[in-house]
Amino acid sequence: MDVARMLGAPGEAMRLPQDQWATSVTDVLTHTFAVHFEQNAFFRAQCDATDVTPEQIRSRADLPRIPLLPVSMFKRPDAHLLMTASLSDVELEIRSTGTGGVPSVARRDTDTVTRVVTAISGAYRDFFTISKGAGLFLCPSTAESPEMGMVKVFNLLNGVFDDHVYLVRDYAFDPQEAMSYLDKWDGEMTRHIIGPPFLVNRLLRYLELEEIETKLDPESLVITLGGWKRYTGESISRSEFDAKLQRYLGIAPERIRDMYGMIESNMLAVECEHHRKHVPPWCYVSIRDVTDASVELAPGQTGGIAILDALNTAYPGFLLSDDIGEVDESGCPCGRTGQTVSFRRRRQGAELGCCAVSIERFIESQEIVAECAVPVPGQE
């Protein structure tokens, strides 16, 4: 199955028999590898250094031979070296700023943007089957954060809703306002909540403190992206999160769907009803030994997450991330095949870096400023 067919029929592509999946993902990655091998001098030098050519990638077992770019390279001032496409073909720059303050910037050309928009829309259709209802977005709008990857990915859902609202404005979030929108839509449309876990958690904390228990709708979904670590390093417990969503908003665990991705990659792994994050059929997740990234670990073993992505024509989408996790290739009861990926933690020494962390850090800093504000006589 080639990339165009995968994108056009994502449901079929995600349910290929496992042996066909392996052949298919190898074929599309080999084709993409050949493009970057021919057209990207920097990447070609990495290939030459490890003595690998596209002709040598014949089966899935050969995929780990494709050189990987560490994601930290997207922070470099000489990031132009990464590009296969010319800057004049670049349509969209997406960025993420971690705790270190240096932005990671991923530059996508028109072909890649077209493919990614199609890919993400197809994944949303396949996993969520939403075509109406109301979306409560617990994040800034794209107008406020036009280059923020997480917001851009959420925003692609926006078009299917009959009504929506973005509730983070000027880096402030008011859970009371969130509840007023949920009340407004009650009985009118199915209500969905979309946002990073820390902001959904803020809403839940408010409901807990105010002792408010309500029920959203039978088909309501809570869709999250952005990681489970707060900017302070503290983790949000997924099981507690699910239990609170069930208690305070009446959302069943199978209607809570987390997603995993990073701005440098076009891979968005979406959770099915069994809480397994499915790697899209045009990507291959290769788990690497943390002490020797050239060694691929078997499914089930924990190591560094590398993503090989066939959609990217702007730069080689063969990335070694700072994330640690594992893949599972056992069949999923949902019927989708290929791989599922589990994120465990960041690599030791890696900064906490994602859009959600940036938003939370700014929200908290605004709150601290507000708390410390010196009252002006007559304006208290």
Partner: protein, 133 residues
């Protein structure tokens, strides 16, 4: 109009004066805390004229390119002229910006002015946020 001008494409692809002068006479840093764009200029100055200048920049393609362009525009230039550089002039030198790139012109004008101010006041900025490469 293309999204990036030919000048911006050229400076992004072939950056000039990229780096940091170790024993510079002045260092100036400006960063945008929200989007994360950052530019550090280091320069040698003689008789109120910039004789050598280098930049380091992180952020969007336009900011990287325009930081390079700025160094070529101010090298050999008197500090008074550098003080007069404004965002409109930088946009003009860059061959125009798309609306979402215009913040880069302001950032570059800010760092150019800061370079002059720092030199005249004997101040040196620490500069870029750490980058765990």
């Amino acid at each position: 109009m293309p999204r990036f001008s030919a000048t911006v494409v050229d400076h992004f692809t072939n950056p000039r004066n990229c780096g940091e002068i170790a024993d510079a006479d002045v260092r100036a840093f400006v960063g945008n805390p929200v989007c994360g764009d950052q530019i550090l200029l280091t320069a040698r100055i003689s008789d109120d004229t910039i004789t050598e200048i280098q930049f380091q920049a992180y952020g969007c393609s336009a900011s990287l390119a325009v930081a390079s362009l700025l160094t070529t525009a101010v090298e050999g230039t008197g500090l008074d002229s550098v003080s007069e550089l404004d965002a409109a002039r930088i946009e003009d030198l860059a061959g125009g910006f798309a609306p979402d790139q215009r913040h880069v012109a302001a950032l570059c004008a800010d760092v150019a002015h800061r370079l002059v101010d720092n030199y005249r006041r004997g101040i040196n900025d620490e500069g870029l946020a750490s980058c765990d490469l």
